[in-house]
Point group: C2
Chain length 229, copies 2
DNA sequence: CGTAGCCTTGAAGGTGATCAATGTTTGTGG
DNA sequence: CCACAAACATTGATCACCTTCAAGGCTACG
């Protein structure tokens, strides 16, 4: 399974159509790492010595407010680069803490390889840029909803996550996500998220099993997302 | 003034220390454009044929919610690249509408030059990445404040803008900004922003003259920003 | 001198935060 | 495999902060 990380990355347009020698240059010193649930990959503020490509599973990128509560900046899903932007910065530190949600697999690539191979490789940089572009757009979409009611924000987050992790048309979110995490990702209080999800459960819209959310009525979720409730 | 855009860009670390031939390659087909107040540079959804570097003034990057109201994703300030991320994407369209705030100057660079020169130039890409990194961090900071009271969000936005546009220690924001724009950028209603700013005016914290905001008591603004009110 | 764009103020009402208490599930060490 | 701790979920009551709606004023500019 681990051995096949290359195929997985190619699915997401990374390393696709590259020669064997190009690939080995881009992966010089790379290390496949399996992370356990809640295991930390990077700690925010630590010196950035490598970046990672998500191969399987999902990771949360977390920041902390001065007042101590946590908020989730982004969920990194397969194909996502993590910590790549800071590589260009000598002595840069990771801007976020990165923690695995459920078991996941990442490919850790040393900063030196980034500088020697990635940054000089147009195709590679383009795939990194494409992912950053997507991430930016995702953040913009989220910002666009600041004034929308909480249910709408949660619906968006949920369907966006399912689509990105499971693919178009899926209904089960295979990574474990707590109400707290959902709250931290939409900028709300846990209790408020719980009230929304409980309501949805009652209405038969979703089902939760052991921190795994299944959407039973995607059509209704989409309606809520659009504010048609 | 226009002729000196290179010096201005170098101040922000772009094109710095490059040879004459490198610079002319990076600026092949580039065009200096002066924008009037409220003039549009890019319309969201249009095919992206070039990107721009902000030389002087400021631009707002705007999106529209389905319900029609506007929200401001980012204020682009001198040194900022605009539309650069979408260059890697063939047939990509601008994800945001870009409008000048007050008169401003940008350097428009064709997509072909991005593909031929920028994307192959490690140093150039690094400076673009550095700016994107900053923009991301700015958005993260903003996200971190979703639960903070409105006054805090406005204080942050204001001081961040002043620092980025005018430099450390400045107190006057030289670009015209309306209450509506401030509201759209922090995700609030105009009236709410007005109430906060009026209160600040009464307390002698700020002064507004013809859409230009001056901070009279930066110390107090910082206190508010930190939630110490 | 009238329109357009922006600013202001007040009143009413709602959404979600906070606090507090309790139940439930999961994980771990003996 | 049990017992206890830790993490997570739930529910209710209260209340602050903003939004919304409505109405009116100011200033610039063609």
């Amino acid at each position: 399974m681990v051995s096949n990380y290359r195929a997985e990355l190619k699915k997401h347009g990374i390393l696709e159509g590259r020669s064997e020698s190009e690939i080995s240059a881009l992966l010089a010193g790379a290390e496949v790492k399996e992370l356990r649930h809640r295991e930390m990959l990077y700690r925010g503020g630590d010196k950035a010595s490598n970046f990672a490509l998500v191969v399987a599973g999902a990771l949360k990128l977390v920041k902390y407010t001065p007042s101590g509560d946590e908020f989730i900046v982004h969920f990194a899903t397969p194909g996502d680069p993590v910590g790549a932007l800071v590589m260009s910065n000598p002595n840069g530190t990771y801007p976020v803490t990165v923690v695995s949600m459920g078991p996941s697999i990442v490919l850790k690539i040393p900063k030196s390889t980034f500088m020697n191979a990635w940054s000089k490789d147009t195709q590679a940089m383009q795939s990194v840029n494409r992912m950053l572009f997507n991430r930016m757009n995702d953040m913009h979409e989220q910002r666009a909803m600041t004034k929308a009611p909480l249910a709408q924000k949660i619906a968006r987050q949920l369907s966006s996550l399912i689509e990105r992790i499971e693919g178009e048309g899926a209904t089960v979110l295979s990574i474990p996500i707590t109400r707290q995490e959902l709250a931290d990702s939409v900028g709300a209080a846990v209790e408020s998220v719980i009230r929304v999800l409980s309501e949805w459960s009652r209405r038969g819209l979703i089902m939760t099993m052991d921190h795994h959310i299944e959407v039973l009525r995607m059509d209704l979720l989409i309606k809520i997302l659009k504010g048609e409730d």
